[in-house]
Point group: C2
Amino acid sequence: MLVVQKYGGTSVANPERIRNVAQRVIGYKQKGNQMIVVVSAMAGETDRLVGLAAAISKAPDEREVDVLLATGEQVTSALLSMMLKEMGCDAVSVLGHQIRIVTDSAFGKARITAVEKEKILSEIAKGKVVVVPGFQGVDANDNITTLGRGGSDTTAVALAAELPADLCEIYTDVDGVYTTDPNITSKARRLDRISYDEMLEMASLGAKVLQIRSVELAKKYKVPLLVKSSLEEGKGTLVREEVLTMEQVVISGITYSKNEAKITVGEVPDKPGIASRLFTALSEANIVVDIIVQNVSHRDYTDITFTTGKADARKALKIMEEIASTLGAKQVTMDEDIAKISIVGSGMRSHAGIASKMFSILSGEGINIEMITTSEIKISCVIKAKYGELAVRALHTGFGLDADSVEEER
Amino acid sequence: MLVVQKYGGTSVANPERIRNVAQRVIGYKQKGNQMIVVVSAMAGETDRLVGLAAAISKAPDEREVDVLLATGEQVTSALLSMMLKEMGCDAVSVLGHQIRIVTDSAFGKARITAVEKEKILSEIAKGKVVVVPGFQGVDANDNITTLGRGGSDTTAVALAAELPADLCEIYTDVDGVYTTDPNITSKARRLDRISYDEMLEMASLGAKVLQIRSVELAKKYKVPLLVKSSLEEGKGTLVREEVLTMEQVVISGITYSKNEAKITVGEVPDKPGIASRLFTALSEANIVVDIIVQNVSHRDYTDITFTTGKADARKALKIMEEIASTLGAKQVTMDEDIAKISIVGSGMRSHAGIASKMFSILSGEGINIEMITTSEIKISCVIKAKYGELAVRALHTGFGLDADSVEEER
């Protein structure tokens, strides 16, 4: 098999852990696999480099930031290659400009446009393990680019898609994707499988196991991803295309966030262009809005409510207050004391009654729902912050996700 | 003017110092110069990276060591470019593989074979300061290579030779080349000028201001080098072709080393092939020999004495003892308690009596000379270690080098 493995920053944090990675790679190699290993920067290294840039400028030149940050993964690539050779396994590091991984010129958040695979395949053909620094590429003019935080996942998926690989394993510091945050309920359970779409909803909602772009790319090219821990043995979680089974699980996971604030612009005249003016003002201020809810109007007025990250909330409030009077809105209120709870599952497409079950579980705990939004495979509710953990535990049990209530294999 | 400046590790040790470098560069730019800046790794960074490699292997793969070490200069290049842009001066980092600086494939000690200058010239033509990481290049197969410790000097000289530049300035943590070590005599004096040949003798003898290869390269391409301090203002030392003046200074400097040991193989039969056997054995053990002295034979026997670094001395002694009996030598002795004092100066080519003056100055201080070797522009004596500093001071005064005994300009 042709296997692509990706190791995150904590997996290569020091020479000792790099040795463990090399041991695993050699184990796979000895079973007859051809190995390509994508590595992140050693834990803390990217922050160190970002700190150097910050000491020089509040807004350092983006091209040069990429030249700077790309060194982190280059260092790990060299060290892992050395370690493999030290342990008797022929290996070679191949950098972004040597491969080449071609991207657009959006420094700091570049997108891969092409992967030239000849160099990798020729080294593989010589029996070598190929070690690739994640996170980086070069644009058409040979400038170094980076793919954004967590971009090493995307590098691994892009290589796996292009070669193509038979298996793409993502090693990180958790042993897979969980039904919910194990810190909230001890009954949280590792999922053996999850679909790309579910993973996308989980990732954007706070389960930060995989860079969301890497999941989008994996979905596009149908690359199955096995997410595992590099620190302990385990089966991990397989992220792959949805497979319809006889008895499909309805809900895969429950996510939870307390990092948002809710802003309501109250009693706005219900006329065309109002929402556009509000959210254009926010986007011009680079404020990212998460949930937006506008209810049906009554007496020609409506309320528009949205949530945004707590860091941006006061700025957003100020902008809304400035704009409210010109729009004829009666009041602007903010509530930072909220939690957002979401249930995610492909099964809800074909199952009626999931939403009402969610609402009744919450009301059974005496929890009032302040906002509701739904997508095809997700339902989110905003509730008071103090009920957050209670809601997660109640939904986890209510939807049959508890570790003691389901079979190990889905 | 087209100016190449090179800044060493202490000159770019932190963001504050990088700011100072940027200020100087901008000053030159504002006077209408076109600027190319070559940078070393931040002080301590190369050692940190070497330490990581050492934690992985006693003999880490040489190709990967170069991939690892090259990141040090890449980081500085990015930071200086950011700083220049932050301060309103357009700048761009151009890495070894982007220029490209082509080398042979001798990892860790690669030699430059070609410099492709088009990329640099096109960025210069756009009015940008071009920042180049020193010390690195790529071989014909696009592998990253490094030029050896201090290789950034060589990068600067190679660029200056190829472009060609009108001026090549080497900024370091000392303000020039001195007549001798200022730690030994407060009368040591900065030289305004020194010839390439004198600098080569000074460098190899211990005045570690410039990488010796960079001086060889500068000599070959007749690139004048101005060695200055980046930490304080000063005129520095100009290293250039020898210029015959009316009243040439005879001696330029005095160097001094206590890092060697002397080994004597005594009463060897004076037959062809003896020296060859001794020194072949040493070179096979990778022991570098410095001075070799063989005196005229008496009674068909001769003594062969050599010096080598203290680190290798015991190993060399063991090899000599093993070989001595097969050669019929009577005894092998070692003396680690020695100092080597050398006087260097182009002027001695045309001046008689320099050697005898050196010997009489030493004898005037009651210092016995144990070994003597001479080259065209250098005379070295081995003496007892305890007299080392005394000898330097006496020679410095005796040859008229003291700060209070000469004019400022040679």
